[in-house]
């Protein structure tokens, strides 16, 4: 201890010795040379700082030892400037993500980009909100190399969005950790992963309007300090803060866009509903006459030609004034599109921000209201953001962030193969009759209150067979949901010296979720009511000491910290069984039979200590390392501790070269490990609660064999990269290569069911994920009245299974729709193959022919369990262009993906049911395939017979597509796409127009979201929007809701 005191005394002496203040002054401008008012200037490593005045000027007393200024301003990239011997500085800040110098890293520590031995990419808030994207995850699509965003369809108001960072770094996939101002947020998803309403993922509570910037930490190198949860990357959000500024500090922004259904499959409009091309002749019991009618019990369209024949439509069989009506059979090509409404998205936000020298505040309120294209679907979200930072004394700082989110949804549409709650889109695309006039279905209620539908059982039994009217579900089966949430932190920071500070933070994320689902009485399905209530909370108690000091040419930046994390979760799930005893009494007490009830409680604590040390030499060589130890309550008591290190190095070699062409050049490399644990209650044996029989309760031995010998899992990764900028930073190139091995994961590995369990929890596997990332930034034209900046990023990833466990060559990740009964589609992690391998039924080939094997009747010989490709894309990326032309700003953002397979149920049944255009195609003889084969119709099938003879067989289309049910290879598509996702044209009114009045700025923008799917490898489906709710493994589309296209206007007013 004496030694330590001595060291401290020496350090203090050194500080005192060199302590001599000097004054530095300067000016901060934007790219166009306009003064930035209220930009923050901070002497790095100290608490000395100031803000620019009305003319953009500042003056600061610089404590010695501090040699770097950190300049930041809302909407602009933060810059660090080395002062050196200068006394006046002219600083130009740049908007957007280009040319970052300071970035937010783990634990919310802002660090000089130069010093990082790993890749971190940052996106400014402006780039997220430009076109009113409501889910921040969706807003990230294509903006960061190696970050793949998959969303639900645009028509799922407030629906889910998922990011994959660098492919998958764990066998079962996973989500990155979302962190807002240092507070980790839950990203649960209470939707189903296959169907029903999509309630969105919880990270979508983050209000894009409150975001200053987002950095994505991709490799474990960047994330070692967040521990196990950072295994899949970290999305770090920094919210806007207040600071001294001119004007009232009020910003008002209002955006309104209207949206319409964009992509639907192409339908045939030549054949009506039915199973064959003959009208059905029915003798009307009322008038005794014989009528031609259609087979309304068929939810397929193999029926008669739509040729104007006079017939009795479905509604003429209902006992009302239209009974007996006959009409000519005509096509309704737009019947599906006409079902949907025009939706609106309306965002209004107001923010008050400002401050004085030692106080900054911001209070923001945003209201989002979305009315979806599916009738009666609506989503509301109110966000309140309060942030405060106060320098109580020169040494003592208090920071508080509080975010409150109140959201509710009503009538969110069901996605997937979910006829029970009524996914109308699924019916239109999979089980429908093409000739139906949608307007006739709007009136789904008869005068007597009974419900009407096209899919009647027969002409004398007008009850629904498989489908209610599409308007029934969206009007009567309304699910509702609401969530109240608050999250934030209180942080106290005390600067013990100019170089050593200690900070304590208490962070909490708390949410309260309610979901109510309903099936109305009187429809096809039994009436039903379900109530799900959940509350989750995470507390983090964090203590962090930071030491920053320069010793001559060596800089030291060290952190030592501890964290206690406490997670708790409670839920109740209850649903009626056997119907409701009073029609439409949506109350659990109305359950006819014993309702299903279950409660779930979970608690988990993780204790951690960690340290980080970064050393810099002459601003060009940096070496850093971290060490972290976690103790998890979910692991066996005697094996619950795990320690993991990381190290990184960065060399800014341009400092050594001194060439003008290369304005910046950096080499970086890092290696890291990250440990992980398991969900609570997985190590000890307990029984599962079964369905009781009368008064006899039942319990089950669980299918999962627990394991008391589990060990923590360790992922090891390394990455290396180079960052090059040329010609005064006008051209930048950033390259990264990474390799990630996730070993000994805690997996519920499948075991043969005959062992008595279906899965066993073990440590197993080695999954390797590697790839490269390229980012190019350029400013080809740079002028005060015209400038053009462009950003391109793309990334490749390969995730391969190296080993599983002894005797197991494949880990089944999921079963596809219908399971074995629909032919056995599976998603797999198989040794030696890329992760996410789809297996299913497909074509058979024999030597000597490229044609598939067929039987004499033209049916394909099916090979089961065939490898049909991986769901992971070969590469992903984005392309953004921004033009400044006088006061106009034009921005266009494209994102793209190549490869990555998915299975489409929509496509399969679209043809199986005779709805799709292909099911009424013209064959090579020039005849409709629906014509009898003997008359030249039929689908041409080219194949090879068992004896090797190549042959052609014409097959009647209903049989042809019937045979292709569960014939997965036919319905596997590449999810490749190029999408123009965002376009905006904005105009900043010149400041001179407002004089010296209250208005500081006014910007008007025309915006478009999803204006154009430029390329897609699959017709009728948007492959970028196939995320099924809470699904972690996106490999099949069971009944995609339609994508939407929206256009709007946005006005931002600054006072």
């Amino acid at each position: 201890m004496k030694k330590l005191s001595l060291v401290l005394a020496l350090v203090c002496f050194a500080i005192g010795f060199t302590m001599a203040q000097r004054t530095i002054s300067g000016m901060v401008n934007d790219e166009k040379g306009e003064a930035l008012i209220g930009a923050s200037i901070l002497a790095k490593g100290t608490s000395s700082g100031t803000v620019t005045d009305v003319d953009g000027k500042f003056s600061l007393n610089l404590p010695d030892g501090a040699n770097v200024l950190v300049i930041s301003y809302t909407g602009f990239s933060t810059q660090e400037v080395t002062v050196g011997n200068q006394t006046t500085l002219s600083i130009r800040l740049v908007e957007g993500v280009m040319l970052e110098t300071a970035v937010v890293t783990a634990l919310n520590i802002s660090r000089d980009e130069k010093s990082l031995g790993y890749s971190v990419q940052q996106v400014g808030g402006e780039d997220l909100t430009r076109v009113q994207e409501t889910n921040i995850v969706g807003a990230l699509a294509g903006k960061i190399a190696g970050v793949q965003a998959v969303t639900s369809a645009g028509s799922a108001v407030g629906g889910s969005a998922k990011v994959r960072v660098r492919g998958v770094s764990g066998l079962t996939g996973g989500d990155p950790l979302f962190v807002v101002d240092g507070t980790p947020l839950a990203n649960n998803n209470f939707s189903s992963s296959t169907g029903g309403a999509d309630y969105g993922n919880l990270a979508s509570d983050i209000n894009p309007e409150d975001i200053e910037n987002i950095s994505v930490l991709k490799g474990p190198a960047a994330t070692a300090l967040y521990g196990e949860r950072a295994k899949y990357g970290v999305v770090m959000v920094t919210t806007k803060k207040g600071r001294a500024r001119q004007g009232l500090g009020i910003t008002f922004k209002s955006s309104l866009s209207v949206e319409n259904v964009y992509i639907l499959p192409e339908y045939q409009n030549e054949y009506a509903g039915g199973y064959d091309q003959n009208f059905i002749e029915v003798v009307d019991p009322v008038d005794g006459k014989t009528y031609q009618t259609l087979d309304y019990s068929a939810d397929e369209s193999w029926g008669p030609r739509i040729d104007g024949t006079v017939y009795r439509p479905w509604w003429s069989w209902y006992d009302d004034e239209n009974y007996g009506t006959t009409v000519p059979l005509t096509a309704n090509p737009d019947n599906v599109r006409d079902f949907y409404d025009t939706g609106t998205t309306n965002t209004n936000s107001i923010a008050f921000s400002g401050g004085t020298g030692n106080l900054g505040y911001r209070v923001g309120f945003t209201n989002l209201n979305q009315k979806g294209v599916v009738p009666n679907s609506e989503f509301n979200r109110n966000n309140v953001n309060v942030s405060l930072n106060a320098d109580v004394t020169k040494k003592f700082t208090v920071i508080a962030n509080l975010n409150m989110v109140f959201s509710n949804g009503s009538g969110r549409p069901s996605f997937g193969y979910s006829p029970i709650f009524g996914n109308s889109t699924q019916s239109f695309n999979q089980w429908f009759q093409r000739q139906l006039n949608i307007d006739e279905l709007r009136d789904y209620k008869s005068a007597d209150g009974s419900f009407r539908t096209w899919n009647i059982r027969s002409t004398n039994d007008t009850r629904p067979l498989y489908w209610d009217s599409p308007f029934f579900a969206v009007t009567e089966n309304i699910p509702t949901d609401s969530r109240n949430r608050y999250f934030g932190d209180i942080t106290l920071r005390y600067a013990l010296t100019d170089n050593l500070s200690i900070q304590g933070a208490v962070r909490r994320d708390n949410f309260n979720q309610r979901i109510e689902e309903r099936i109305a009485s009187g429809g096809l399905e039994e009436a039903y009511y379900r109530e799900y209530v959940a509350d989750g909370q995470e507390d983090n108690f964090e203590l962090l000491a930071t030491y920053q000091q320069n010793f001559g040419e060596i800089s030291v930046d060290a952190n030592l910290g501890g964290n206690l994390r406490q997670n708790s979760f409670h839920s109740n799930n209850a649903a009626t069984v056997g119907g409701l005893n009073v029609p439409n009494l949506f109350n659990l007490g109305a359950s006819v039979d014993r309702p299903t009830l279950s409660s779930f409680i979970s608690r988990k604590d993780v204790q951690s200590v960690f340290a980080a040390l970064n050393l810099g030499y002459k601003n060009f060589l940096y070496v850093g390392g971290t060490l972290r130890n976690d103790w998890s309550s979910a692991l066996p008591v005697d094996n619950n501790s795990y320690l993991y290190p990381s190290g990184n190095v960065s060399l800014v070699f341009s400092e050594l070269l001194g060439t003008d062409i290369l304005s910046y050049g950096k080499l970086r490399a890092s290696i890291a490990q990250v440990g992980s644990d398991v969900d609570p209650y997985r190590i000890a044996f307990s029984y599962g609660i079964g369905t009781p029989y009368g008064s006899s309760s039942s319990f089950n031995v669980p299918d999962l064999l627990p394991n008391e010998g589990l060990r923590p899992a360790i992922t090891t990764s390394w990455e290396t990269g180079v960052d090059l900028r040329f010609m005064g930073d006008r051209l930048g190139l950033d390259l990264t290569y990474y390799n990630n091995n996730s070993k000994d994961e805690i997996l519920a590995i499948q075991v043969p069911g005959s062992s008595g369990f279906s899965t066993a929890l073990i440590n197993a596997g080695n999954i390797q994920s590697r790839g490269f990332e390229v980012g190019i930034t350029a400013e080809p034209i740079s002028g005060s009245n015209f400038s053009w900046t462009t950003r391109i990023n793309f990334a490749n990833n390969q995730t391969e299974i190296i080993e599983l466990t002894e005797g197991i060559s494949n880990y089944k990740l999921a079963d596809g729709i219908g399971g074995q009964g629909w032919g056995g589609l599976t998603l797999n992690a198989a040794i030696g193959e890329e992760w996410g391998l789809i297996r299913g039924g497909g074509y058979t080939y024999i030597e000597g022919s490229d044609l598939p094997r067929i039987n004499a009747n033209g049916s394909y010989v099916r090979t089961a369990n065939k490898d049909l490709g991986s769901i992971l894309p070969d590469f992903t990326g984005g392309f953004t262009n921004t033009f400044q032309i006088y006061g106009f700003e034009i921005a266009a953002h494209i994102d793209f993906q190549a490869g990555g397979k998915f299975f489409s149920t929509t496509k399969m049944f679209n043809n199986y049911s005779g709805l799709g255009i292909e099911s009424a195609a013209i064959n090579d003889k020039g005849n409709s395939i629906r014509n009898p084969v003997e008359e030249g119709g039929g689908v041409r099938v080219d194949g090879v017979l068992a004896d090797g003879t190549e042959t052609v067989v014409y097959v009647e289309p209903q049989t042809y597509y019937g045979r292709l049910f569960g014939f997965h290879e036919k319905w596997i598509y590449d999810a490749s796409f190029i999408k123009l996702r965002e376009v905006s044209i904005g105009y900043n009114l010149p400041r001179r127009l407002f004089g010296s009045g209250g208005i500081q700025s006014l910007k008007i923008a025309l915006i478009a979201r999803n204006p154009l799917l430029i390329y897609s490898a699959v017709e009728g489906i948007d492959p970028s929007e196939i995320l099924p709710g809470a699904n972690n493994l996106i490999f099949e589309e069971r009944g995609q809701l339609p994508s939407v296209r929206s256009y709007g206007i946005s006005v931002t007013l600054g006072l």
């Binding site: 027969s458 039994e526 964290n563 031995v701 005959s754 008595g756």
Partner: protein, 478 residues
Amino acid sequence: MKIKHLIYALLLVSFTSCGEFDDLNVDPNNPVSVQTGTLITSAQRSMSDVVGSSLGALYAQHISDIIYTEGGRYQSIVADFSGWYSGPLQNLQTVIDLNTDPATSTSAAASGSNANQIAVARILKAYFFHFLTDRWGALPYSEALQARGGIYSPKYDSQEAIYSALFQELKEAVAQIDGGPGVKGDIIFDGDMDSWKRFANTIRMNMAIRIADVSNGKAQSEFNDAIAAGVIESDVFYPYLGEANNENPWFASFRTRTDFAVTEHLVDYLKATNDPRLAKFADPTLNSVAAGNPIYTGMPYGVTNPTSLPPDVSYPNSTYVKCQSCPLSIYTVAQVNFAKAEAAARGWGGGSAEDHFRAAIQASWDQWDVTYTAGEFDTYYNQANVKWDAGNWKASLAQQKWVGLFIQGYEMWAEWRRLNGPMFVVPAEPLNPSGGIPLRNIYPTTEASLNGVNYSAAVTQFLGGNDSDGVRLWWDVN
């Protein structure tokens, strides 16, 4: 100095809650021990999946798909047996273990005497294994259900070995039933141990008949021994309740849909023989009822594209088959009498084959609540296409078993394979690899990857290298 404080503070933050920390991982949601009777209840609920399976009824061609005909065209021929092991069989094995282990047997005795619980669990295990081996053939048996003992990849045993072991199990189980309290949670026999003895003997009797063609000696001795030990004297049903959690599966499938109808060639045979059971098996078609002229129309089996409208074909009967609490047969007196008829025909003794055959049909009529006079029964029985034909008794038996075992799908499918009758329809567009009527289920695809060595060995050893539905089971020799 300050650094020291800092370290203290860090330690304080990190370890304040250590005592609680170690106890956090105790699951508050699920029990670590339960009454063993509740495991028996759970296993018995799975019997509904045997006797109420629509797939079984399709395979027996009792029932046809009306619209989506892929099921009846054998699309699901690759079927997973895993759930039977990790579900009911594992529960039953646990009942045996808990009643055997001295550390738990005392507390387990709250659900009945240890011996009685073990006996019931063994009998039920035998019931399920018999059902399973008759679907797939060779299966993991001797090494199955031992994951907790370290066997994750059980080897397959031949069907012959499984039969042999099950005969033994059933005999031993019956022998160990003691005078102690009967089992609790028993939803089939309510803990009546005498019924369990008879049930066990009935399974044994049925198994013996099944292997008659392949192992006549063993079959005869097991059969006679089982009959002598006492078989069921009243029908054993799965008792469904009038509530949605425990309702009849046919009721459930018809709650919102109308996917199934009674098969055309069954309806035609019942009509041709004026069988009063037609009105018990099927409903008249909705359209015929609406038109005031109720008739029964069957649905052709295994059509490729729908040929009939749902209201034009006969659904399973609303009073006897698909009401919410309609019981479904597990073993019936008719089956016992059919078995006795066959035993007699095979010369194993036990009276007149024809008398037993008549008794079997009569028992079936009684089972289906037919009211009739002796004369009416005689008229029915004496028709050429009903009456026992001693020269071709297998055909007589097959035909009447098909009717008498109505809706006992899997059992009838096994009997069809063994008796090669009655004539079944081969779908025009079959979806099973063999293209014919399946002779077994194909092993689940997961076995090749999860239990590859044992799977390959089984396919080579027991299936001639071809895991197809066209390969005959051990007892299927004709």
